[in-house]
């Protein structure tokens, strides 16, 4: 790999990172907070690429005859592999994690953060709740703060081992490699004939029923569905 090629590979890698971070593509893979750092990374890589290309053109032929030859042999051949993430980001752009990943891993433990004091739900009818918030209130507060309220949950459909549909959402702490599902069992008018990975918005009420996630033996809360509708995948697919 000569210097010019190295520059072009760097330009592609930096360009791919930059493109993913200025569009919403990066949200499929990492948390929103990483965006400024991704943009800075893209800029640094593109700058390194442009400087490399600039210096490689400025080198006199006698210079590059000696050094270029050496680089053809000793340049980092492993650098070719950087084409793979470029390919992944620019051409394939794989979707956010869905039901396949949700079924492979056990549900997260929606433990209360900092004590077990749950504030009352905000106003709204139905009131929108995250899946983690719902599971946490249902499992660790016996649903006390949920009673008598009409609730709205958003997630994708996944299939429980017994074939029943469940609502799930992936929770990221850093990137998709550490994504864990939060799963909610569905009672009542559950969505029927909806393929896995379809995004839905459910309204309904709290129910006391729970089961154990067979993967890791964690309690999974249930939700009594009243109505449901299909929705497009949200901009921010992870919880």
């Amino acid at each position: 790999m000569n210097k010019l090629t190295q520059g072009v590979v760097l330009l592609l890698f930096g360009g791919a990172i930059l493109r993913a971070s200025v569009t919403d593509l990066y949200l499929r893979y990492v948390k929103e907070g990483l965006r400024p750092f991704l943009i800075a990374t893209g800029v640094l890589l593109v700058a390194a690429a442009l400087m490399t290309i600039w210096y490689s053109f400025r080198e006199t032929p006698s210079d590059s005859g000696e050094h270029g030859h050496e680089h053809e042999h000793h340049g980092p051949g492993v650098g070719w592999l950087l084409i793979l993430p470029v390919l992944g980001l620019l051409l394939v752009a794989p979707p956010a994690l869905g039901s396949y990943a949700a079924n492979q891993a056990g549900s997260v433990v929606a433990e209360p953060v900092g004590g077990s004091d749950y504030p009352p739900l905000p106003a709204g009818d139905p009131v929108e709740l995250s899946l983690v918030d719902y599971a946490s209130r249902a499992l660790f507060d016996a649903g006390k703060s949920l009673d008598g309220r009409e609730l709205s949950l958003t997630g994708f459909i996944t299939t429980a081992p017994d074939g029943a549909p469940m609502l799930a959402r992936m929770v990221l702490s850093c990137c998709a490699a550490d994504g864990r599902p939060i799963k909610i069992g569905l009672d009542g008018r559950t969505p029927i004939d909806v393929p896995a990975d379809t995004w839905v918005q459910l309204t309904g009420v709290y129910t006391a029923r729970t089961i154990k996630d067979p993967v890791n033996n964690v309690d999974v809360a249930y939700f009594e569905v009243r109505t449901w509708q299909e929705i497009p995948e949200p901009k921010q697919p992870y919880a």
């Binding site: 090629t5 990492v30 053809e72 794989p94 702490s173």
Partner: protein
């Protein structure tokens, strides 16, 4: 003390294990690498449709998502590490390190480990930095202790651990202390048993003869391509493990105290999760004992597939094949000891 010459020929990269089209892009003698690259890109754009179909199965799609996301997540840390190591290589004079670190290597090791507190990053960034420190004449034992300590004991990682284990601050304390002890022990172990010739730093363009800024960009270019290439190998391995190993299979092993420690130690190596995120994963492995989860947190930032791959690239295969197993054993033992005493 004269600094040892460590620059050597680049170890031959292991590309055979790569599942995808990498070998197609090997440089030809007659056709220049730029022509190969251009041809490869045209081919990829033309084959875009079939290529997308190829990865449309759910398992392969999940693999691709995890692979891409590990790289996207690691890219800023890699860039930060590479930029900092280029600054060390070009702008920080060699004499600075002689003044900053205690001259006796046995004292330089703990000092360098503690210096890891100030580097807010994950493990991908610290590999090129440690390589750069060794090039600049820092004793390898101290640079390696820094390499191990920095990703595990910096404020971001410790804060993440406190948040992931609510009501159990002793987890974060145990993690910080155990990681520090492992880093210092490995540094001292290197002083006793390590041989400088095991470390083969890859050939890097001669920076001393270039103007400063040209040298800076040359160092950046070389390190991104080199460490980044090995990061790709590690990310592919981690994505494979992520898709292939079903979690239910692990649960059956959680009941046995000794077995659970070994299982989580090995899982930490295989999963290669960023040190800033691993505490959350450990928290969700709730069927395992706290001690085994502490071992998971101590081993993960020090030995994992992407680190082994990057260490092989930056320090050579002879080094990585000795350093990674030794670190793994020490980390498991120290982690277990701290877990038994503190948790």
């Amino acid at each position: 003390m004269p600094s040892p010459r460590l620059d050597a020929e680049e170890p031959s990269p292991q590309l055979d294990t790569e599942p995808t089209a990498a070998p197609a892009g090997r440089p030809e003698r007659r056709i220049g690498s730029l022509e190969v690259l251009a041809g490869l890109l045209v081919l990829l754009v033309v084959l875009r449709g079939p290529l997308s179909d190829l990865v449309s199965g759910p398992a392969l799609q999940t693999w691709t998502t995890v692979f891409v996301s590990v790289l996207v997540q690691a890219a800023p840390f890699l860039a930060f590490g590479v930029a900092l190591s280029a600054v060390i290589a070009v702008f920080v004079p060699r004499s600075f390190w002689a003044k900053a670190l205690p001259s006796h290597p046995a004292l330089a090791v703990p000092t360098a480990s503690l210096a890891g507190v100030v580097l807010p990053g994950c493990e991908c960034g610290s590999v090129p930095i440690a390589g750069s420190l060794i090039r600049r004449g820092v004793t390898p034992a101290a640079a390696l202790a820094f390499l191990l300590a920095a990703p595990a004991i910096n404020p971001i990682v410790i804060t993440a651990t406190v948040i992931a284990f609510p009501g159990r601050p002793e987890m974060a304390v145990a993690r910080g202390l155990a990681s520090l002890v492992v880093a210092v022990l490995i540094g001292w172990l290197w002083l006793r048993l390590g041989k400088t010739e095991w470390i083969k730093l890859p050939h890097r363009p001669e920076l001393d003869t270039l103007p400063k800024w040209q040298a800076f960009w040359a160092a950046c270019r070389h390190d991104v391509l080199h460490a980044g290439g090995y990061l790709v190998v590690g990310a592919a391995a981690a994505a494979t493990i992520n898709v292939v190993v079903p979690e239910a299979w692990l649960t059956s092993l959680a009941a046995n105290a000794v077995l659970s420690i070994l299982v989580l130690a090995i899982l930490a190596v295989l999963l290669s999760i960023c040190s800033e995120a691993d505490a959350f994963v450990a928290a969700s492995l709730s069927q395992f004992s706290l001690t085994s989860r502490l071992v998971f947190l101590v081993v993960g930032p020090m030995v994992d597939l992407k680190l082994i791959s990057m260490q092989t690239g930056v320090f050579g295969r002879t080094f990585a094949s000795r350093f990674a197993p030794a670190t793994f054993v020490v980390a498991v033992l120290v982690g277990t000891a701290f877990g038994v005493v503190l948790l």
